[in-house]
C-alpha cells in the first residue's frame, strides 16, 4: 500500500540553510502521496527520472480546470479558469500559442542581443558604483536587468520603460496590497493593449509585440487584449525568475569563494556558461512543484497513478538527485550540469531559457570582474529569503565593495 506522508505542503526551505531545497520527506524515493490543504492526497514526485518522465508525458495535463488538478490554495482553485494561460494549457491549444512566440526566443536571436544586454548590465553597475554603500543588489541589478531586457524583446519604447518597470514591479511585489496588484495588472494590460494596437498601425519594427500585431492581430488569430495577456505572462515568467537567479546566484558564489574565483578569473566564456548551468541546477529557484493531473492511468517509478489523480512534480529535488548528479549537494561550477530540470522538461520547458542564460552569463562575467571586492553587507543567514514565494530568491541583497 502506498504511504501517505503528512506535512504542511508546500514545505519551506530551512531558514538556517536557505540555499538548500526544502525537505520533501525522504528524498529520492518512489512517488508518494502527500496530504494537501483540502484533504486530497496528490502524488509527490521527487526523483530525477520520475520528474523527467512525467513532465514529458502527454497524459499528465497542466490544465487547472481538470478535476483532480492539485491547487495550492482555495483562491487559486477558484481562479482556475483565468489561469488557463499558455503555461497551463495542453496541446494542441498550447502549441498554437507557443509557436507564435518561439522565433523571438531561439538561441541565435537571443545571442544577437548580447551587446545590448552587456550595455544594460554595465550601465546598471555604473549607477550602483556611483551610489552609496551598502547598495541593494536586487533593486540595483537583479530586478532591472530582466525588466529592461524584456522591454527590448517586447519592443517597449524607451520613454515608457520607467512606467512599465514600475507596473511590473508592483504586480510582483509581495508587500503590495491585493487592490494595488489588481490595479497594476489592469494598467499593465491596458498599456500593452494600446502598445499592440499602435504597433499594428505602424511599420513592423522586428520586436515581439510588433510581430504579433502584424502576424496575429491583423489576421484575427489573436485580439490586442489576448496579445497583451500573453506578453504579461512572458513578463512574469522572465522577471522574478531571472531576478531570483541573479540575486541568489550572487549569494551562492559569495558563500563559495573558491567557486567564485573560478568564475571571476576565467577569460573563457565556456567557464561562465558552465557556472550558470550549475547555479541553475544547484539553486532551482522555480521550486515547490509543478502541478499535473493524470488524464489516463500512468505507471511511474513503480507506482500506478490513476486517471484523475493530481501530481506535484518537484524540480529542486530532481536537481539534487545523486543518481543523476554526483555530489549533488555540492556547488561545482565545473561539473557537467546538462540535463538539469531548472527550466522544467516536456512541452512547457521554459521558452525564455536562452534569454535567461544570456542575462546570467553577462551578469556573472561582469559583476565580479568589475567589483572584485563585492561582499555581503549583512550575515548570509539574516538575508530576507523569499520563503513564501513561488520563485525563490532574496527580497533584497545589501552589498559593499
Amino acid at each position: 500500500m502506498t504511504e501517505t506522508i503528512e506535512f504542511d505542503f508546500p514545505p519551506n526551505r530551512d531558514a538556517m540553510c536557505p540555499i538548500e531545497p526544502a525537505r520533501y520527506g525522504e528524498m529520492g524515493g518512489h512517488p508518494k502521496r502527500v496530504r494537501f490543504w483540502d484533504g486530497s492526497t496528490p502524488w509527490l514526485i521527487t526523483r530525477y527520472q520520475d520528474v523527467h518522465d512525467i513532465l514529458a508525458d502527454a497524459r499528465a495535463s497542466s490544465d487547472p480546470t481538470i478535476p483532480g488538478y492539485p491547487d495550492f490554495t482555495a483562491a487559486s482553485a477558484a481562479a482556475a479558469e483565468q489561469r488557463r494561460t499558455i503555461v497551463a494549457l495542453d496541446d494542441p491549444e498550447h502549441a498554437v500559442l507557443r509557436r507564435m512566440l518561439i522565433a523571438d526566443f531561439m538561441p541565435k536571436r537571443i545571442e544577437a542581443m548580447r551587446p545590448t544586454v552587456q550595455a544594460i548590465v554595465d550601465s546598471l553597475i555604473d549607477d550602483m558604483l556611483a551610489g552609496p554603500q551598502p547598495a541593494d543588489l536586487v533593486s540595483a541589478l537583479a530586478l532591472p536587468v530582466p525588466s529592461l531586457v524584456i522591454c527590448e524583446v517586447l519592443g517597449v519604447p524607451a520613454t515608457e520603460r520607467e512606467r512599465f518597470q514600475h507596473l511590473a514591479g508592483v504586480t510582483g511585489a509581495t508587500e503590495a496590497t491585493v487592490t494595488e496588484v489588481v490595479a497594476a495588472h489592469d494598467e499593465l494590460i491596458a498599456f500593452l493593449t494600446d502598445l499592440t494596437l499602435e504597433k499594428a498601425s505602424s511599420v513592423p519594427t522586428g520586436d515581439l509585440l510588433s510581430r504579433l500585431a502584424h502576424e496575429q492581430l491583423t489576421t484575427g488569430a489573436l485580439s490586442a487584449n489576448e496579445i497583451a495577456k500573453l506578453a504579461k505572462v512572458l513578463l512574469i515568467a522572465g522577471h522574478d525568475t531571472s531576478a531570483g537567479m541573479i540575486g541568489l546566484g550572487t549569494v551562492a558564489l559569495l558563500k563559495n569563494p573558491d567557486q567564485l574565483k573560478i568564475v571571476r578569473d576565467s577569460q573563457d566564456p565556456r567557464v561562465v556558461s558552465s557556472a550558470v548551468e550549475e547555479l541553475l541546477r544547484y539553486l532551482t529557484i522555480v521550486h515547490r512543484g509543478r502541478r499535473r493531473v493524470a488524464l489516463e492511468d500512468i505507471e511511474l517509478g513503480g507506482e500506478l497513478i490513476r486517471a484523475g489523480e493530481g501530481m506535484i512534480v518537484v524540480l529542486e529535488t530532481a536537481n539534487r538527485d545523486e543518481q543523476q548528479f554526483k555530489n549533488a549537494n555540492v556547488l561545482d561550477v565545473q561539473r557537467d550540469s546538462h540535463g538539469h530540470m531548472a527550466f522544467g522538461f516536456g512541452i512547457h520547458q521554459c521558452l525564455g531559457q536562452s534569454l535567461a542564460r544570456l542575462e546570467l552569463e553577462v551578469v556573472n562575467s561582469t559583476l565580479f570582474r568589475r567589483i572584485p571586492t563585492l561582499a555581503l553587507a549583512v550575515p548570509y543567514e539574516s538575508l530576507p529569503y523569499r520563503h513564501d514565494q513561488f520563485n525563490y530568491g532574496v527580497h533584497c541583497l545589501p552589498v559593499t565593495w
Binding site: I102, A103, P107, K108, G339, F345, Q349
Partner: protein, 71 residues
C-alpha cells in the same frame, strides 16, 4: 576483421518540436531553427561519427522527445 562502423541516423518530428533550442545548442552543425517560427530543422540526417556524442546529447535533452536516433 574490423567491425564496420555503423552510421547513426537522425529523425526529427517537427510536429512535436517546441523550439526549446536544446538541439541547436548541443549539435549546431546538425540542427537549426527556422527563422520564421523557430521550429527545428535537420541539416544532416547522417552526421559524421565524431558528432555522435553531441547528437545523443541533443536527443536526450530535447524536452519534447522529438529526436529519434537509430544505428
Amino acid at each position: 576483421m574490423a567491425e564496420k562502423e555503423v552510421q547513426m541516423r537522425v529523425q526529427l518530428d517537427q510536429e512535436k518540436c517546441v523550439g526549446a533550442g536544446q538541439c541547436v545548442m548541443n549539435a549546431p552543425s546538425v540542427f537549426d531553427q527556422r527563422d520564421s517560427d523557430g521550429i527545428a530543422v535537420l541539416l544532416n540526417n547522417e552526421p559524421a561519427s565524431d558528432l555522435d556524442a553531441d547528437v545523443r546529447t541533443a536527443a536526450a535533452l530535447c524536452p519534447a522527445l522529438a529526436i529519434q536516433l537509430s544505428d
